[in-house]
Symmetry: C2
Subunit: 367 residues, 2 copies
């Protein structure tokens, strides 16, 4: 283990070098100058009105279909509070984002995990679950560059999911924080744009501006947004007006387009380095190279002791998250590698160290 800083493939967060700090500073100054009353006053639970308008325009909906929150996780929490009671069935992807899984289990939801394939959730398996009698309130889907798998839902499956939602009367929760970070392939239409009445859509500015700004939002049917507005009023009166005012200036000045370009270029270089590093150093690793986002899912040969690998890698200053953290059981031979917070040089060094750890662990197992 060197005295260099740890190489973290664990945290799904951007490195500081791809955040437009100067742009944020300029946006803050412009925001206070343009609307001191709006930034410093209480505001309302639906969010800072000009930003809400901008989001509504981008989605081609009315402002009443949008609520802007303190980060999209808070938006998820409100949505679950509005729609999910203890004992209610909720469909999620297998694997899925660990915090969503925890939030649903903490609410006593009956969580049904449906396997994720490289082109998205197995809609035939979902249909079998529905035909067998499950009546979910909600299906949580991360359509683009899924966390943790990095996979993207195909258009055909999006359309099938909407049909199932209409037939079986559940809400599709389209959780889409990574959509703007596509660095290869072609954009697939959002489900909310195909059928706005069946979908509640969530996204955030954490990946396109910065996580610390904590601004996320929901787009959905007015009745659901109005219910969430009432919940939000009770919890915090209003979300952060200063942060939302800064985001409003950042998006309207065009800084966000430059920021997204910077982030995408870096992510493309990083995923290339990661794929090349794994192919070179650890050919046992199987993966689908993502077309965007932060994460790559890696499968190692069945029987690989990923706990031991996790420890052996940590001893070399390399961190990742075990695949089993994203499921309820199984997936013992998988891991999630986040490439958003590491430089190309760190990725090259990190994959070599990861392979070294793998050799140590498998030598011990077969010895």
């Amino acid at each position: 283990m060197s005295d260099r800083r740890p190489i973290s493939f664990a945290r799904g967060a951007p490195s500081l070098d791809i955040i437009d700090v100067e742009g944020l500073k300029a946006a803050a100054e412009a925001a206070f100058a343009a609307d001191p009353g709006g930034l410093t006053g209480y505001g309302t639970a639906v969010g800072y009105p000009p930003l809400r308008e901008w989001i509504a325009e981008r989605h081609g909906v009315a402002a009443e279909n949008v609520i802007v929150t303190n980060g999209s996780m808070q938006a998820d929490a409100f949505l679950f509070d509005a729609l999910v009671s203890s004992g209610d069935t909720v469909v999620v992807e297998l694997p899925t984002y660990d915090r969503t899984l925890l939030a649903l289990r903490n609410r006593g939801a009956d969580v049904r995990m449906v396997e994720l394939e490289p082109d998205g959730i197995d809609v035939a398996a979902l249909e079998r679950v529905l035909v067998a009698g499950a009546r979910p309130k909600l299906a949580h889907i991360i359509p683009n560059f899924q966390n943790p798998a990095g996979y993207t839902l195909s258009l055909a499956k999006r359309e099938r999911l909407l049909e199932l939602a209409r037939t079986y009367g559940f809400v599709l929760f389209e959780d889409d924080p990574y959509v703007e970070l596509r660095f290869s392939g072609e954009r697939v239409p959002a489900m909310v744009s195909l059928d706005p009445e069946s979908v509640v859509y969530a996204s955030s500015f954490s990946k396109t501006i910065a996580p610390g700004i904590r601004v996320g939002y929901l787009v959905g049917p007015r009745e659901i947004i109005a219910r969430i507005e009432r919940l939000a009023t009770g919890v915090y009166i209003s979300p952060n007006m200063v942060a939302q005012g800064i985001v409003n200036q950042f998006v309207r000045s065009g800084a966000i387009e430059r920021s997204i370009q910077t982030v995408k270029q870096a992510l493309r270089a990083r995923v290339d380095a990661l794929a090349a590093g794994l192919e070179r150093e650890l050919p046992e690793a199987r993966f689908v190279k993502p077309e965007g986002g932060y994460f790559m899912w890696v499968e190692l040969p069945r029987g690989t002791d990923v706990d031991a690998l996790h420890a052996a890698a940590a001893a070399r200053g390399v961190q990742f998250v075990r695949g089993r953290d994203f499921v309820l059981e199984g997936y013992e031979n998988t891991l999630r590698l986040a490439y958003s917070g590491v430089t190309v040089e760190e990725i090259e060094r990190g994959t070599a160290l990861l392979a070294e750890a793998y050799r140590e662990v498998t030598a011990a197992t077969t010895a």
Copy 2:
């Protein structure tokens, strides 16, 4: 009714002229320059570490006793989620802040209201409730310049409350957003400083910097703070790092001391105008002139139709909140006048119009 903007004695919010917008702009620039990584990264659920440290130092406690949140109402919500289950008894003041009342009722709490006197909650009445068998989890107390009454809890009653909390094993929730806004009289020690193990203390920067910055905090026993940290992680990962970074620069640069002076001077002038206006125009009004804060509680002669007064005042462009919004029943002849968001000139005009409305309503009643 004139075409001038309404005179709002309703909203407990500062007018823009007493907010240091330039100071906020400078603090934002300094914050991004000083710690770009800390402001833009996810941070942690306990809040922005340098601000947490500053708050801990001000209260003479360790950082582990502090959690910084998105406004103090979110802090209240976390505290209630941590300590109050459906059916649990919670003591509150009568009258009390309407949002607190609603938050507790929404959680199914058994809310026991104990009458507020000009020197604070009637501790003898509280003791009778306890002796009769009530075993509250929590007692919610707004010690300084209470909302809605404007009253301040005496030192003797603070000490008595702490004794009762220790004897009967409940947590004192000292909700203290207005403490820095004392413009006359002498500061009374906070209960949390007298017995840190019996109290969870909440405050915020909404009244000393600006509401839109949405930064509040709790100070309390480590075990309770740690529980709330876990809840906060699940709800939003971390609070707003940008806003907390701005507050950190604002408080450490000394801007907050100037801001507090500005606010206090304005509030003193406004409360003087309000008291003089009522004495001159509406001698039937009974009130205790507050020593700080935003609110004055007004009692009109028994039998006054405050609903009719509310409508008659609104027709003249004057708004206030009816006293009954702060209680479960009764208090039909009371109202809350907030003087935080109105100028002296508006107060003079507003009290005259309120008196005019009162004459109209009482003439109708006695006719």
